[in-house]
Subunit: 299 residues, 2 copies
């Protein structure tokens, strides 16, 4: 197992998929193949598929559904779930179609759940677990707008630091849908200067299919979100500022504030909370599936 | 001013609009012209229109946008905002089109806000306030599924009691969008036997464009929603059970529980919280706009 993806020339989404398929892309994918669309993935038994689509339709900010298996059991083709609301492109139906795809191997690291309990964390493929009754769902990822933020001079701190974005459970409830009850938003955090907030909101707002603008910001938002300690993220690495200081040392600062976006880990939490029976799989947080299209294809 | 709509033969949505236009439909519209689509309405200066569409797209459960003025300033025609997600009908683009329409007069009672403060409550028309810069937005209404509940033997208690549905402010935040920040869900309440919950959820789930299934239920949900006293609704009438008992006398009951749905008053709250400048108008809670199509056209 290699933990170095940096030496490889991972220029396109396809490059990253092939590297993952060779088990050579085992680090978080933030910043890899810049500009290519990255997706969260959750794989469910088909009997839960309709309720999951409804969960996403009712909670489009944390759960922006962009695609799913072409048919039940299919791991080598995906079809778009984008509505006209999410894309002004007339080709929206096909925009996320990706060739040379194996959803069982093309993510760097996976999670496997059995009866809603994690049984594998960070495994390199899910070939043994995938059945012809499974359906994969692809959820937009905030990495999509990080390129736009960087281009606007607002590089996210974890990109500077070359770490994984910090993610937190919150107490904000999802709108329930069928079997999916009792779950809450997961959010990702990027710290910014308070004076940059309007620009940060504006740059990310147009990425409707990848969480869009932030859902909360400022130190007051911690209480509203039910985050007790900003230094104790639930996934990813510790939050830092753009100049590398620990954000936990700046609680209450007027200069630097936390900014929170909906996070595509939310559906995996929903699956856990719903107590789904059988085998469910997903990407390991931070380790995304890369597609052939580019971020701006779905703006 | 008449407060009696019951004696009139209000059979169709058009009948109700004409009665309202004559100022003869000044009672809440629940149960009128059964089966016809009822809509919440909010009228904004055009500079806020794009942000409002985004607010609805990000919060489709409390703010299911179903239509808007055909063009800026137009009060006699509406165009559909329904996406393919909300309707399987191929004619979804035109399904809510309604003829012989005057958005300034066809709601029984209106609210008028100036610089985010209410200046008129329950007025009979908005002819003097409407300008050629205003855009009306129509939001799905939970009345749409009340017919379905009634047909399933689950008549909502306020329909039995011939009162207005109780509505509450909550602490559940909306996902912000542009100028619309700091707002929270408004919910409507119907009390049901706990044993009917699964059926109630199932009957309403398919009404995606009119709030869909409940967002919370049970006595525990009061704390999660931030509702301190179920006997103190913010709009509408006091909650009762199906057999007419005050729900406030049954707090903690295992037999009868409160069930909460997203409510189309949410956008009016959002407008207030956002501190929008200028003249904003809306329906008075409970007093809806009736359209020519029927509820099942948008299922």
């Amino acid at each position: 197992m290699s933990s170095s993806s940096a030496p490889l020339p991972l220029v396109t989404g396809h490059d990253v998929r092939l590297a993952a398929r060779r088990n050579e892309c085992t680090v978080p994918t933030a910043g890899l193949a810049k500009g290519y669309l990255q997706a969260n993935m959750i794989v469910l038994p088909s009997r839960y598929a309709a309720d999951f689509r409804s969960l996403c339709a009712r909670n489009p900010v944390p759960c922006p559904l962009i695609g799913e298996s072409g048919s039940v059991g299919q791991y080598d083709a995906v079809k778009s779930s984008l509505s006209s609301l999410s894309s002004s492109k007339s080709q929206s139906v096909s925009v996320i179609q990706t060739t040379d795809l194996d959803l069982r191997r093309d993510v760097g690291r996976y999670m496997v759940y059995h009866d809603a309990k994690p049984v594998k964390t960070g495994c390199l493929d899910i070939c043994n677990e995938w059945t012809d009754d499974h359906v994969a769902f692809l959820i937009g990822c905030s990495y999509s707008f990080e390129t736009a933020l960087t281009n606007a001079g607002l590089t996210p701190p974890h990109v500077y630091a070359n770490t994984n974005v910090p993610m937190y459970r919150t107490t904000i409830p999802l709108c329930p849908a069928g079997v999916f009850t009792g779950s809450t938003y997961v959010v990702s955090l990027r710290a910014y200067n308070a004076t940059d907030l309007a620009k940060v909101r504006n740059v990310t707002a147009k990425y409707h299919a990848t969480h869009g603008e932030p859902i909360a910001w400022g130190w007051d938002s911690l209480e509203k979100l039910g985050i007790k300690d900003i230094g104790k993220q639930d996934w990813g690495d510790s939050p830092v500022t753009q100049d590398g200081r620990p954000l936990a040392s700046l609680v209450g600062s007027e200069e630097v504030i936390p900014v929170f976006w909906g996070c595509g880990v939310t559906p995996q939490e929903a699956v856990m909370r719903a107590g789904l029976e059988g085998i469910v799989m997903g990407h390991m947080p931070g380790h995304m599936l890369l597609l052939d299209c580019v971020d701006d294809d779905i703006v």
